[in-house]
């Protein structure tokens, strides 16, 4: 456990890590920071498990023949990869790890509004994860992460019900996290911390929480209906018995499209923090960025049917959803333009978190713009269910979410662990991640455009060169992800002791010690300034060691 790495004699006062050492002090904790660490460990396990399945996929696709596995195993492997990454990594990762740790500190509170419900969220996540692992070990599931009917209800003979139950429980874990965040942000802010002084990371998590609370129950009941239909042979989504499989797709995407904003919005919040700190400037257009998060949360509920353009919805409906999908590009673009405007004439430094922020902006822009290709009805018909779609959402999910997460992990690692990570290795890994990512997924745009369908275990010979490039890239990417894991663990024992504010950053979290005490602040802070007041932090003051 991380706590063992910091000798007590070097820390002048107890912090949240030294406040109890036994297993019980962790498993029964209600401290939001400790729960964040629990989440950090568990989502990391799932990330590498999901990554393992990704490597199996890439290895199978190294050659055109189905030589590593056959169709049935391949179906299970991409399903495992998708479900683990979506439900057990991407959705919880930033809110449950960084959000859990930072939301109360950033608003000057002692804890989240409901600390016990917060712990319950983690236990629900662990129960769901264990159930899913069990489902995997007894044979897995092969429906794809989307559970499409009627295959999932009458076709597949794998463990659909158990996987569905796992997703259902994981859903309640995120509902409770979202509920906790909304109440905390409304009710627990420090005196003087008005809505227009909130860090943009808070705004992003607030918008995310709205989606979690409004969307997740719908997918929960949808999966219950799938399970009930499967168990009792009903016909809710079965066309032979009068049901409508399209209804399933509507209900599923009503949550699952907004879910991509659950994943990306918190990372966007992280990027706002990084860009301002490492260009030493106020954010450009604070209100626009803050409200664009809310706009994305609202508009995100109105675009779901763009996943169904070829599923048989009416042309009229398709045109409306196409238009709305273009429209949601506006708040996303506002963010990107405002970040770049913030950089303009800033004192930019290239610490590792900033490298990830740059990576985010570039990759998210490509991912977002190709999203507009897919929103265009004509092009979508051409590239539906091809690798173009796969490349598009990996640019957003991996290039966006993961870049933001890793940037945030490096930025706040000194706060979380009390130690600095090795900057040289970190820069190398940021470079590897960027290069490996592009090498993996850019060829997939081309593959998709020339017609390689997704979810097949073999392919015609002419696709091989691009597939080899992609597989090679995935190995580079894997090294890029393993490195931070190794040096973060290394830094727990050997990293230099972190100051309270090693980046000279604005924000309440940097005003308390690293790592923070159990109740975050000795005295409740009173906020009299706007967020990102970097022009008011004098350079001389910056040189002086802050904290201990």
């Amino acid at each position: 456990m991380a706590s063992a790495a910091i000798p007590a004699n070097q820390t002048p006062k107890t912090n949240y890590l030294t406040n109890g050492y036994g297993l019980k002090s962790w498993l029964l904790t209600t401290d939001h920071k400790r729960i964040a660490v629990l989440y950090l460990i568990s989502v990391t396990v799932f990330f590498f498990l999901g990554g393992f399945f990704a490597m199996l996929i890439r290895l199978e696709l190294l050659t055109p023949q189905g030589d590593l596995m056959q169709a049935d195993s391949y179906n299970k492997v991409f399903t495992m990869h998708g479900m683990i990454m979506v439900f057990f990594f991407l959705i919880p990762v930033v809110p449950a790890v960084l959000g859990n740790f930072l939301v109360p500190i950033m608003i000057g509170a002692k804890d989240l509004a409901f600390p016990r419900i917060n712990l319950l969220s983690w236990y629900l996540y662990i129960i769901a994860g264990t159930l899913f692992l069990h489902c995997m070990l007894i044979g897995g599931v092969d429906t794809g992460w989307t559970f499409y009917t009627p295959y999932s209800t009458v076709g597949s003979n794998t463990n659909v019900v158990e996987a569905g139950l796992a997703v259902f429980i994981a859903g309640f874990s995120s509902i409770f996290t979202g509920l906790n965040f909304i109440v905390t942000i409304h009710r627990m802010r420090a005196p003087g911390l008005t809505w227009d002084r909130l860090p943009l990371f808070i705004w992003a998590n607030y918008a995310t929480s709205i989606i979690m609370v409004l969307g997740t129950p719908v997918v929960a009941i949808t999966i219950v209906l799938v399970a009930v239909e499967r168990l009792f042979h009903l016909g809710i989504f079965d066309p032979k018995l009068g049901g409508d499989p399209l209804l399933f797709q509507h209900l599923f995407w009503f949550y699952s499209h907004p879910a991509v904003y659950i994943m990306i919005l918190p990372s966007m919040g992280v990027v706002s923090e990084l860009i301002t700190c490492f260009s030493r400037k106020r954010i450009f257009g604070y209100k626009f960025i803050a409200l664009s998060s809310v706009a994305i949360a609202v508009l995100g509920f109105l675009v779901w049917a763009h996943h169904m353009f070829v599923a048989g919805i009416s042309l009229y409906a398709a045109m409306i959803f196409s238009f709305l999908t273009f429209f949601i590009g506006v708040p996303s673009a506002i963010k990107v333009f405002n970040w770049t405007a913030t950089l303009y004439r800033g004192s930019i430094s290239y610490a590792t978190p900033m490298l990830y922020a740059f990576g985010f902006i570039g990759l998210f822009t490509i991912g977002g713009l190709t999203g507009l290709f897919l929103a265009t009805l004509g092009i979508d018909v051409h590239v539906t269910d091809t690798y173009f779609v796969v490349a598009h959402f990996h640019y957003v999910m991996v290039g966006g979410v993961l870049m933001g997460y890793l940037g945030g992990m490096h930025f706040w690692w000194p706060k979380i662990s009390g130690r600095m990570y090795p900057e040289g290795w970190a820069k190398l890994s940021a470079l590897l991640v960027f290069v490996g990512f592009n090498l993996t997924f850019f060829p997939q745009f081309i593959l998709g455009y020339v017609g390689m369908p997704r979810r097949y275990w073999q392919y015609p010979d002419e696709f091989q060169v691009l597939n080899v490039l992609s597989t090679a890239g995935s190995s580079v990417l894997a090294v890029g992800y393993l490195l931070p894991m190794i040096y973060f663990l290394w830094s727990l024992r050997y990293g230099p002791i972190a100051e309270a504010n090693p980046w000279n950053a604005a924000g309440l979290e940097w005003q308390t010690t690293s790592p923070p005490p159990t109740f975050n602040f000795d005295e409740t802070p009173v906020v009299t300034w706007e967020a990102y007041n970097y022009d008011e932090i004098a350079p001389k003051e910056l040189e002086a060691p802050v904290g201990r």
Partner: protein, 235 residues
């Protein structure tokens, strides 16, 4: 909204119900209340998925839904509706009693609420049993031979479509009954706590929030009753 609770920063040590991370009791109460309302929103979305499915299939297979709906007993449904409405009243009275600090009344009203909830569940159980006897439970033994009478002629009904109606009937009323069971358990615990004197005019948030939950479960039934029992009976 930030400033409403920002006035007192010193914890009120004398209030045992005040948790350490709240500045004062008012902030704690506001947080709990907002949390409960948000939870109710998630409940509405949860049932919303089923209401959506109901709407789609009722429009697609109206005749079968109307014929199947006529198999339900309006009398029992109406009786249960009345029982739930009265239980909502007793919940309000319980909250009022808690506010006034009247412990005996509070316990009494909570117990009556639980009894009314159990009454509802027993009646529901008889209704379910009758469905089993007549093979109206979806599954391999399902059979449906009734016709839809539109006033001038009897139209035969596709049993698969009727089964769809009963699938939704059991899914929606079953999920509602599950919420009733949870509510009864909740009020039983609260009644015990109230008996032991855990609540005072200064602190009765759990009673209030459980009351909100109970009202929501009632309201869902208020929608379920006409949607499931009264299709095409307005003629």
């Amino acid at each position: 909204m930030a400033d409403s609770h920002a006035t007192t920063l010193e914890p009120e040590a004398h209030n045992p119900a005040l948790l350490h991370h709240f500045a004062d009791a008012q902030q704690q109460k506001n947080a709990a209340s907002l949390g409960m309302w948000l939870f109710l929103v998630t409940e509405i979305m949860f049932f919303g998925g089923m209401f959506c499915a109901y709407l789609v299939y009722r429009l697609a297979h109206f005749n079968a839904f109307a014929a199947a709906s006529q198999q339900l007993s309006i009398k029992l449904g109406a009786f249960n509706t009345a029982v739930l409405l009265v239980s909502s009243l007793t919940v309000v009275l319980a909250v009022k009693a808690a506010e006034a600090g009247n412990r005996k009344q509070l316990v009494t009203y909570l117990v009556i609420t639980v009894l009314l909830g159990l009454t509802f569940l027993v009646v529901k159980g008889f209704e379910y049993a009758e469905k089993f006897e007549r093979h109206h439970v979806p599954g391999p033994t399902f059979s449906f031979t009734d016709t839809f009478d539109d006033g001038s002629q009897k139209i035969p009904v596709n049993p698969n479509e009727a089964q769809l109606y009963f699938s939704l009937y059991f899914a929606m009323t079953g999920m509602h009954a599950l919420h009733m069971i949870i509510g009864c358990g909740l009020f039983t615990v609260l009644a015990v706590f109230a008996w032991k004197g855990h609540y005072s005019p200064g602190y009765f948030t759990p009673i209030e929030n459980a009351g909100l939950y109970w009202h929501l479960v009632d309201i869902i039934w208020i929608y379920l009753f006409p949607l499931l029992y009264l299709i095409s009976r307005h003629r």
